[in-house]
């Protein structure tokens, strides 16, 4: 988007007052009904409590109460070495789990000024895109259940299993793989991964056509989603929204292509997908399109996967290869020191954002020069995008509130950390 004068002008007093992230009812009408949606309700996608004020069937007040799955990940990471902190991270955004691992490793690598082999960067691209597909499949399945379409859930979860099989094949775990390491990835791809992955791509392309047939021409679906919960680009950017929700409002901002992209995305020709409209329908459609694009990216990455090591050769960071431990004293010492003490990171602070399935996922890492981070601030996209939820629900029906909540796709593990 070209620089324009309009986008620079921010109104001082606007509809966001008094509290930007909450919607308060105008009147003190005693007939207004206050209900709690959640914290245990299937449509809240986790444990989110939405305090809703209703005037008949119309929503006039919304307050989000979060914190039910707060597990103190930030505090825990401060007590761990960098090496041991990695498994904590995918537990927050548990749908786009690989993005979290990658973001943490990239922040640490940035602080260390460590170079990562190209093959590892490309492998990270493959698995980030697989995680994105996984996240969007769960979004589509559960989102359609919220709108009354049960069938799509089973299609999506069947396809999701295919994606998780690939994770299992590469690193043994289906979710939370801890495949990404500081300095590269844990191991190279196993034999047969390439063929299996291409089979999955063919299967998924066929599936995506079916998703379109299931929801794209369904008049009930269109009536429930078109024109509902319209998010204007100005409002989205003021509320800090990023990712597919922002792109569904017509802003072509994607960290994978902005400034040329990060990591392996620099080598891949990539244009962000943009949808116009900013309503629930656009937010559903953009995720289906992004799945298609992710399949293309994975295919491109498989085709051009560079040869070489998958881990940095800096032995002060990377564990020595297993076979060396039997013959080399140096390797044994390094192994022992790395496992017990970890590596030290120069004092300073870095913020390394990446594009996860639901927006900018950044790690603000403050190091004091020791082997443990002084402070890690996890900037999850869901925490931010939940802020704009209340204002989107102004004056809609209660059933549309469910649709809007599904369409912005919060993950409560990410919100509460």
């Amino acid at each position: 988007m070209a620089a324009t004068e309009e986008t620079k002008v921010w109104p001082q007093q606007d509809i966001l007052q008094p509290v930007p992230s909450e919607l308060w009812p105008d009147s003190d009408n005693p007939d207004l009904l206050e209900i709690n949606l959640g914290p245990n309700h299937p449509s809240t996608h986790g444990v989110l409590r939405v305090v809703t004020t209703l005037d008949g069937e119309v929503v006039v007040g919304v307050k989000c109460e979060v914190g039910y799955v707060h597990t103190g990940i930030e505090k825990n990471i401060e007590q761990k070495t960098y090496w041991k902190a990695i498994p904590y991270v995918p537990r927050m955004d548990y749908l786009s789990f690989f993005s979290g691992e990658t973001a943490f490793c990239m922040a640490t690598e940035k602080a260390l000024e460590l170079e990562v082999p190209r093959r590892a960067e490309w492998l990270r691209v493959i698995f980030q895109e697989l995680a994105r597909i996984h996240s969007h499949l769960v979004f589509l399945g559960t989102g359609s259940v919220d709108l009354g379409g049960i069938a799509l859930l089973f299609y999506c979860f069947r396809a999701r299993d295919e994606v998780l099989d690939l994770f299992e094949m590469a690193c043994g775990a289906r979710m939370h793989p801890r495949y990404c390491q500081v300095g590269g990835v844990a191991e190279d791809l196993p034999k047969g991964f390439d063929r299996r992955c291409r089979e999955m791509i063919t299967f998924m392309r066929d599936q995506i056509e079916q998703y379109y047939e299931l929801i794209g021409a369904n008049p009930i679906w269109l009536a429930r989603t078109k024109g509902v919960g319209v998010l204007s680009p100005d409002f989205a950017i003021r509320m800090g929204m990023t990712g597919p929700n922002l792109r569904a409002s017509g802003v072509p901002y994607d960290l994978r292509s902005a400034n040329g992209g990060y990591g392996g995305y620099r080598d891949l020709d990539f244009q962000p997908i943009v949808e116009q409209g900013g309503d629930v329908h656009a937010r559903f459609r953009i995720r289906i399109e992004e799945m298609r694009q992710s399949l293309d990216l994975i295919e491109k990455a498989l085709d051009g996967l560079p040869e070489g090591p998958v881990m940095t050769d800096d032995r002060k960071i990377a564990l020595p290869p297993r076979h060396e431990l039997h013959t080399s004293m140096e390797s044994l010492i390094h192994h022992f020191k790395l496992v017990t003490e970890g590596f030290e990171v120069p004092a300073g602070e870095v913020y390394a954002p990446i594009e996860s399935a639901r927006g900018e996922f950044g790690f603000h890492l403050i190091s004091d020069g020791s082997a443990r981070p002084w402070r890690v601030r996890l900037h999850g996209p869901a925490f931010v995008l939940l802020q704009s939820f209340a204002k989107l629900c102004e004056g809609v029906y209660l059933a549309d509130l469910i649709a809007i909540l599904a369409s912005i796709d919060p993950v409560l593990g990410d919100v509460d950390r």
């Binding site: 986008t7 170079e115 950017i237 003490e341």
Partner: protein, 207 residues
Amino acid sequence: MSDVLQINSPTWGAPDQDAGDRIQAAFGAEAIVRRVEFRGELTLDLAIERYVEVCTFLRDQEGYDLLSDVTVVDYLGYTGEVAGYWGGDGRDINRDSHTGKRVVPEPAGPKRFGVSATFCKVMTVTDDAHRRLRVRVWVDEGESVPSLVAVYPSADFHEREGFDMMGIDFAGHPNLRRIIMPADWGGHPQRKDYPIGGEPVQFSDEV
């Protein structure tokens, strides 16, 4: 294409020193106390009384339209000989182990807490010119930081979390209450003097 890729994240762009110069031209040289550049990221330490004005300037004149993050950092014990992990009464999992600090860093700032905000240019620039910039103010226990909510509405949840987890008073915030911990929680868990073990178990009272 080289064999190894450059690791420095391109998501920051080049350090925006010019913005710092223009801030000093508009608000006087003392508006920026210090400039820190680390790994290509520019942090401007601001005088606290100029904080909101400078952020408004960044938004309206410099085109930083996205507030991407507000981080509060507790630097208590940062320059101590051993990273400050205090022994508690119960399980003493806070005591320093041999994985502790060996390098004693320079003090990060003049006061205990650093409150920093990271901005990004999104809609005001074309695809290859997204820049990021961080501004920071320093406060001690009991001092308050002016709230950014009136300037950047997305600071709402971030500042509530800063209050909840670190006990920072964001003056002028319209809804400053706990966001993640329960409303009747005591203390601020993310502070360095808050133990991670040995605290009383919640919800274990006899009914």
